[in-house]
Symmetry: C2
Subunit: 259 residues, 2 copies
């Protein structure tokens, strides 16, 4: 593995390959899941030789780890910027939701991987995935603590929990799209979702009368026009759920087909 890249200049060119592979990894992971794909799939997607993947990444785990850090660090730094900025809590919360949804808009597949493969990955125990999540939660918990001190937040609200709830809402909101519960192509829907998340979260958390030192616009702003779309996104199969008949005997249950 030595593969010293002591050569500083060639870097760019070299990184290009590396990035290509990383990009391919994100796409493949998003499509088949981390465990459901082989390094060969990633290599093929990237259009490079199998071995090259190992030239740039020590092993499959490191690949996922890198995908994670790459995507997550972006989100975290943006979120931190917002959380530590000055301004009313309400605005911060909305901006955090913005950050999350914007990330999704820009690169839905990357977000999908983060949410599906990493956010809940139990294996994360050993690596810092969970730690990373915990970090964001703590980060925003501080934001809430400060808001509480300044009287913007209801005194009976626990900062840490509030923080967890906010991100829980955001995550689940995104998950709805990721999983296909809602149509991700529907931009309006995305906007509305973002607004509703911040909105419903805030009104349960903010001091009813409005924060002291800040004139808050009368709530609302949501549903600008557009009647709520019929609430039944019919597409997406009903899923056979209970109908699920294990059987498949012959077929090995593992991954059925590859590529």
């Amino acid at each position: 593995m030595g593969q010293q890249k002591s050569a500083p200049e060639g870097g760019t060119r070299e990184s290009e390959r590396r990035r290509t592979i990383l990009r391919a990894a994100i796409d493949v992971f998003a499509r088949k899941g981390y465990h459901g794909c082989r390094i060969a799939d990633v290599a093929k997607e990237a259009g490079v030789a199998y071995g090259l993947v190992y030239h740039y990444f020590k092993n499959k785990d490191e690949l996922l780890e890198t995908v994670f850090e790459t995507g997550w660090s972006g989100f975290i730094s943006r979120a931190r910027l917002v959380a530590e900025s000055e301004g009313p809590l309400e605005e911060k919360v909305r901006r955090i939701a913005d950050v999350a949804f914007e990330a999704y808009r820009v690169d839905p597949r990357a977000v999908k991987v983060l949410i599906l493969e990493i956010a809940r990955s139990p294996a994360g125990a050993r690596i810092n995935r969970q730690t990373a999540f915990v970090d964001v939660i703590r980060l925003s918990a501080q934001m809430f603590t400060r808001a509480k001190e300044s009287g913007e937040l209801r005194p009976d609200v626990d900062p840490l929990l509030a923080s967890a709830l906010l991100f829980g809402s955001i995550e689940m909101g995104l998950t709805a799209f990721v999983v296909g519960l809602a149509d991700a192509r529907d931009t309006v829907m995305l906007e509305r979702a973002k607004a509703q998340i911040a909105d419903s979260f805030l009104h349960g958390v903010l001091v009813p009368g409005g924060a002291p030192s800040r004139t808050e616009p009368p709530r609302s702003e949501l549903s600008t026009a557009e009647p709520v779309r019929a609430e039944e996104p019919k597409h997406e199969a009903p899923a056979e759920v209970s109908t699920w008949k294990r059987e498949k005997s012959g077929t090995k249950s593992k991954a059925p087909k590859r590529s």
Copy 2:
């Protein structure tokens, strides 16, 4: 997964073994995750021979599937009962939170498996863990739709999304405990968490003044064309930051140690 011999009686004795294995599977999955453990681990945990696992379960997938269904079915039926009952929305929401937290109190490890293993769906989509989850969301979405019709719910709230947010909050709230962010042994904390979840969710969703039984809320639609969001999305730049520079250094990587 009935498909267990047609003989209904012998069931009990035989099931005992089966249950032991199932229980062991839950524990092991909770500890190392589905992919992170081998059948051998489950067998050892259960104190039975390796081969016996295959006597009761067709394969590893079916084992997880069973764990999953077993756990979900309980929660789902309870939740359905609440969702379809009569009464004010507020009460229903609180009871749903109750159900979730009670499940956690009774068997935290099982809940952990459900929560952590939930959204990951094998590409093949053969196992629908998420389907069960989606079902609950749809179920409660119906509850919200009804509440909306009866005027209990703000008209500008999307039922499906509201449903997702509720469970997102619950899930993340529980996750905080699962992950150790909050001390799960602290009963008071659990109670408070449950209350805060329902509370903050409700206050952002319920019609402020309480719900008259049938009055279509006159609440003029939030005027607002769109003034509010002053700062608009800050056009997040490239999602993937470029901050990454990580060197592959000697991150450990694989997980050499197996128990």
